[in-house]
């Protein structure tokens, strides 16, 4: 999938060869709605390197999708606004780019796939057309040639009889095949970053594994960086290099995936381990975390997890815990992270 375009610049600005692929720093996103201001992302930071995978983990509403949309620059605005922080793609600040320049990055350099490919694909256009549109709009490739390229891509993501299926509509495919179409479309211009927002949540377990395997294989071939938003802790342990655990728009724990997985240092991460289904461990029964996340319109002072936290003490209501270094790479936003990390110390 080599392209003839130079990849040493981003929207006309030279890249910094020493910079990591993507650096997100202290990202803040809010939605200004009638009821008030929803603080959906409050200070998220992570670094994605070439060929690596960063997993973003968290309950529904924790700000995973919104943070990914901020990186893509596709937040509904209004009501949504990126109010602070930095998103640097190979050293180039994306938040400073004009909408027209950002559009050149979107889909071409950074692509995204979504949870439900049935609704994410346009129901009234053939899938081949939808893939070919990438070549036609970004590269000015003529219709016929773009169609051939689309068929090649469909073959590459292992859609059987791609040539005939290119004329089919999204509803004529199975869930897994539809997600393959999404992947083909996202990878059409050989992006350097792929953001996958819960790409397997809507699929059967066996199909989930196939899609994850496909993503891993494609990542191996292309060396792209992958931002994987997921609920599946097993997947995190298997494929992620780094993991960021989000709660109420904040990062509560972050680090290389194995230490975070095997020795979590935040009560919320521990709770997630017991509450979410895992492919690698057959848990007897799931224990959901009691209670629900705070109202993002009015996040109380102190630790946002306090009302649900079995470790909570007085200080938790008064002081918001800073990110404490568990190791040089592993951080946890908990006053009592040492106590928490002893929980799984023997494991």
């Amino acid at each position: 999938m080599a392209t003839t375009l130079s990849r040493d610049a981003v929207a006309g600005r030279p890249v910094d060869p020493a910079a990591p692929l993507l650096v997100v720093e202290d990202l803040h996103v809010e939605f200004r709605i009638e009821a008030g201001t929803v603080r959906a992302v409050n200070g998220l930071s992570y670094t994605l390197r070439r060929g690596e995978t960063v997993a973003i983990l968290g309950e529904s509403g924790s700000g995973k999708s919104v943070s990914a949309q901020a990186v893509m620059g596709i937040i509904d605005s209004p009501p949504g606004f990126v109010t602070g922080g930095s998103v640097r793609f190979r050293g180039v600040e994306l938040l400073d780019l004009s909408e027209a320049d950002r559009r050149r990055v979107r889909g071409d350099r950074i692509a995204m796939i979504f949870q439900d490919a049935l609704t994410a694909l346009n129901p009234v256009f053939p899938v081949g057309w939808q893939i070919a549109e990438m070549f036609r709009m970004h590269r000015g490739v003529p219709r016929k040639e773009a169609r051939e390229k689309a068929i090649e891509l469909m073959e590459r993501v292992k859609i059987p009889s791609a040539r005939t299926r290119a004329g089919s509509y999204p509803h004529e495919f199975s869930g897994g095949m539809r997600q393959r179409v999404m992947i083909a479309m996202a990878l059409s211009l050989d992006p350097e970053i792929l953001i996958a927002d819960e790409p397997t949540t809507a699929l059967d377990v066996t199909v989930q594994a196939q899609i994850m395997a496909l993503l891993a294989e494609l990542q191996q071939q292309t060396g792209m960086g992958l931002i994987l938003i997921t609920h599946d802790l097993g997947v995190v342990a298997e494929v992620a290099d780094q993991v960021v655990v989000m709660y109420a728009g904040r990062e509560v724990e972050k680090g290389p995936s194995l230490p975070v997985y095997h020795r979590p240092a935040h009560p919320y991460t521990l709770g997630l381990m017991d509450s979410l289904p895992r492919r690698d461990v057959h848990t007897e029964r799931l224990r959901p975390i009691k209670g629900s996340p705070p109202d993002l319109l009015a996040i109380p002072p102190g630790c946002p997890f306090r009302p649900r936290c079995p470790y909570a003490r007085d200080i938790c209501a008064a002081e918001e815990p800073p990110l404490a270094a568990v190791t040089s790479e592993h951080v946890s936003a908990c006053h009592f992270w040492e106590e928490v990390s002893r929980e799984r110390a023997g494991a």
């Binding site: 979107r106 979504f114 609704t119 129901p123």
Partner: protein, 307 residues
């Protein structure tokens, strides 16, 4: 598709007979004696009256009259008016006029309605949106004959921008009546397009299209537009019928010698054959148009499968 078409055509049969029978009963139920109306102040000899009654089967029971009439229709005979002129002649003369009026009205409402709806929908709550919402509400709230007389008085008589009545000025004479005829549907189409567009703009596939790096213009104009048109096309199918109905009022106001006015005059003169003949023909046209739109609908939305 073939099987679907056959089924639809079979459905035509009860619809056709039901609609025409209803019309027949309604015309028959118009109070007064048609022959007396025809004669005006004169007193016709008993013999002549009986002759007319025989000729139009007026002494048969209603259902027999209907049966005889339908028998004629299937041989291309839509009956005669009281002056002995075949209704088919009347149709041939008046139909092109009404078709011209209806097509103009249809084009007017579809083009302007969709444009207004899109402009309103892309900036929900903006100035254009409010303008469209309020003006369409006004148009919908005012009865069409009031709107027609107002337009005639203001744009025709007062400002003299358009011919006031008749069709002496060629296509130009049809403009104002067509705008009046299409106005209410235009308002509905604008509102429907707006709602449908706003709803579709929230859809997941729009987010995908944006994430593909497409321009806003393409996201709205290609991806969202096609999907937004699906309910609008459904409305258009129903609307064809109201255009025909509206033509009766509009042609009367603007004195346009089309089918609508022919029906109006037929009702006034209690010429059952004329009313039933024309309406029967319109029912046929309407059903065919509906079928055509249904087929178009499948082209627009591939998820629809006719089997």
């Amino acid at each position: 598709m073939g099987r679907y078409l056959i089924r639809r055509l079979l459905q035509f049969i009860p619809v056709f007979f039901g609609a025409t029978l209803l019309i027949f009963i309604m015309v028959w139920a118009i109070p007064g004696d048609p022959i007396a109306a025809l004669a005006g102040d004169r007193v016709l000899p008993e013999q002549v009256v009986q002759q007319i009654r025989d000729r139009y089967n007026l002494d048969d029971p209603l259902i027999v009259q209907y049966g005889k009439y339908m028998g004629g229709v299937f041989q291309g005979d839509f009956g005669e008016d009281f002056r002995g002129r075949p209704v088919t002649d009347l149709l041939g003369q008046r139909l092109p006029i009404t078709v011209r009026l209806a097509l103009l009205a249809f084009g007017f409402e579809v083009v302007l309605g969709i444009i207004a709806g899109i402009l309103a929908g892309v900036r929900k709550g903006g100035f254009v949106d409010n303008l469209v919402l309020i003006s369409t509400l006004v148009v919908i709230a005012i009865p069409i004959f009031v709107l027609g007389f107002l337009a005639q008085l203001l744009l025709g008589v007062r400002f003299g921008w358009f011919p006031v009545s008749g069709v002496q000025h060629g296509l130009y004479s049809y403009l104002l009546p067509a705008m009046v005829l299409g106005s209410v549907s235009l308002a509905y189409i604008a509102r429907l397009t707006r709602t449908s567009l706003i709803e579709n703009l929230r859809a997941d596939y729009v987010r995908t299209a944006t994430a593909k790096g497409l321009s806003r213009r393409r996201v709205v104009g290609i991806h969202t537009f096609r999907n937004s048109m699906i309910p609008v096309v459904t409305f258009l199918a129903i609307d064809l019928g109201s255009l025909m109905g509206g033509a009766i009022i509009t042609e009367t106001i603007f004195n346009i010698p089309g089918l609508g006015r022919a029906v109006f005059e037929g009702v006034q003169r209690q010429e059952g054959t004329v009313v039933v003949g024309i309406v029967t023909f319109l029912v046929l046209v309407y059903m065919m148009a509906n079928l055509l739109v249904d087929v178009l609908y499948a082209v627009l939305d591939p998820r629809i499968r006719y089997e």
